[in-house]
Symmetry: C2
Subunit: 363 residues, 2 copies
């Protein structure tokens, strides 16, 4: 066994060194004593990436503290054990016991998974949490991943994202014709219907592509993450709101067999730590975005609101795109129905509650 393998085995990533079939998940309880476990958690982000990479580190630290060290979880960045887009498979086949990612990355395998990540003109972060916990959403998500031996747990939101960085003014739908924009997923599909050219680029290539003019526009996340990438030095106009990702949700995924091997108290610790880490990610984004937005404005960024008629047209295309996703399979249809019903009720309530208050406060 190589030194690297010993290192990886110590952290439960034994499948890289020996066949999963022979060692299997049952050996994943890496005992320090009778009740100690070592897990590995693979992610789709660079290690310690602001926001996204902090949530799994927070989670692992909470589990360590609450379990008195009986469950130690080591967090790996994208590419350290498996590439970022192979996190689901790694957790499903037991290469790692846990993952932190976004469910839209699995759309090739499980189209309906996209409902648990980012729906254009969909629910906000708080509404999504309500749907998952009290509106039947979590049960549907569990049902969707069950055939893959994977348990999903909500794992944080960025809050409403920004509309993105543009090197020209956007005054109408016509300005989107031929526009090359880094915008993945369902949002990209909506841009395509509006005449634009959606481009998929990993985070690390975004800045250069925008700065060199290889692409005309970029949506990344929001002030906190966008400023970290220096996008304000590569494009002039910063548009809002982020119609394409109003309340993006991320996911912790757990190998079901590994989870079942834990004693009940550690199972409870994993579930509750995930919930705390999930909400804390949203709170962190909200807080860091406040300061980052001020800094961006101080640096001369032009904040602009998308024209209302453009947004209305994008909403029409979004409804089409999401409707088509719902028609892909019966499970997608069930999830769509549940999602849509909750969103309608939540929007109606919000209009007389927080929304009504904020409108008044801002005047």
């Amino acid at each position: 066994m190589t030194r690297k393998c010993q290192f990886l085995k110590r952290w439960g990533v034994k499948a890289l060194c020996t066949a999963v079939a022979t060692l299997g998940i049952s050996a994943s309880a890496f005992a320090d004593g009778d009740q100690s476990y070592r897990w590995s958690l693979v992610t789709s982000w660079p290690k310690n990436f602001p926001g996204l990479g902090i949530a799994p580190e927070n989670f692992a630290s909470m589990v360590d503290d609450m379990s008195g060290g009986r469950l130690k979880i080591r967090v790996f960045g994208a590419g350290e054990v498996v590439p970022g887009f192979e996190v689901f498979d790694a957790v499903s086949n037991g290469t790692a016991q846990m993952g932190h990612s976004g469910s839209y990355y699995w759309k090739g395998k499980i189209p309906a998974a996209q409902f648990f990540a980012a729906i254009p003109f969909g629910m906000t972060a708080a509404e999504t949490d309500g749907w998952l916990r009290y509106g039947g959403g979590m049960e549907l998500w569990e049902e969707l991943y069950q055939p893959h031996g994977v348990i999903p747990l909500a794992a944080g939101s960025t809050g409403t994202q920004m509309g993105g960085w543009f090197n020209k003014e956007i005054n109408s739908v016509e300005d989107l014709q031929g526009l090359k924009m880094r915008i993945p997923g369902l949002g990209g599909e909506v841009l395509k219907r509006a005449g634009g050219v959606p481009v998929s680029l990993p985070g690390g290539e975004i800045f250069t592509a925008l700065q060199t003019g290889a692409i005309d526009a970029v949506e990344w996340v929001g002030p906190y993450n966008d400023r970290a990438f220096g996008l304000n030095t590569a494009a002039k106009y910063y548009y809002y709101p982020g119609w394409h990702e109003p309340g993006s949700m991320f996911e912790f995924i757990v190998n079901e067999e590994a989870f079942q091997e834990l004693p009940q108290d550690l199972q409870a610790i994993v579930r509750q730590a995930a919930r705390t880490a999930s909400y804390d990610m949203l709170v962190e984004y909200n807080a860091r975005n406040i300061e980052a937005l001020k800094q961006l404005q101080d640096s001369g960024v032009e904040l602009r609101r998308f024209p209302e008629d453009l947004l209305q047209q994008l909403q029409v295309y979004s409804d089409e795109v999401v409707q088509e996703l719902a028609e892909e399979d019966p499970m997608a249809a069930r999830i769509y129905e549940s999602y849509r019903a909750y969103q309608q009720g939540a929007a109606a309530y919000n209009q007389v509650a927080e929304q009504a208050y904020i409108e008044t406060r801002e005047q």
Copy 2:
């Protein structure tokens, strides 16, 4: 020792049976084995009251599960061990190890505590969580309670409340003249400046007072709790938004000596379970309010928005009232400065983020 005392002692409420001074907090670690603890948690609400009473039960259940039964916390309703308004003293003097309440109840003893409950025209629930965790709010709260031997933990929000139930239309500030309304705390002080007559009534007396015409109006919480009290059968008009409590925050309070006696893993479990219970209370309120609002509307309730000029006038009075609170002592001034700075940044960010999105979605 009476049978009742034996029962109470078993649950750590020994101070009712024997002098606190002699037994003291150090006996509160009621050992089942070397590492088992039994705590009592006193609250300001009826046992299992929807929303408010559910949060401490959730908390106790999570702690039990995560600690494998090593820390058992029994929840008592208001009046079972101490009256609802004596929760802080009970935790401070060790009668109980924990409490669940609202910090505005302690304004006679600690005026600045009100900043951690409900500020008219103040922050929303999400903004408050950001301030507490990333804006220095939690450190100020800890400093405020430290002289009393009490550790505060955020413990849930109702979200933006409703404006209340009125037996007549409210079309201008003049309609508030002489209006007898159940509205406690700073909101009541604001109503007084607008010419109204704030009345304090415990929850159990609200319905009858409104139905018999002893008072003209009531604010209680929101659709979920208001419907449980049947307020829709006692008044015709249901106004919004709840300017007086835009993001009410509640509190878990912990006796510091009792907390220090816990091993570190149980301390971590108490802290994280509180955070999860806190967010879950907000999610539960949001979710239950959606359904309750539909039911109220189906029953014929007239939903009305307060006139904008009335709200603007109330905001002027609110600013005065909060400013005067800030002048009560140097600690209140420090908290006010921190609160106000965070709110300004949060409101500016919200305008280009979630708020901008919701305005578009609703059209």
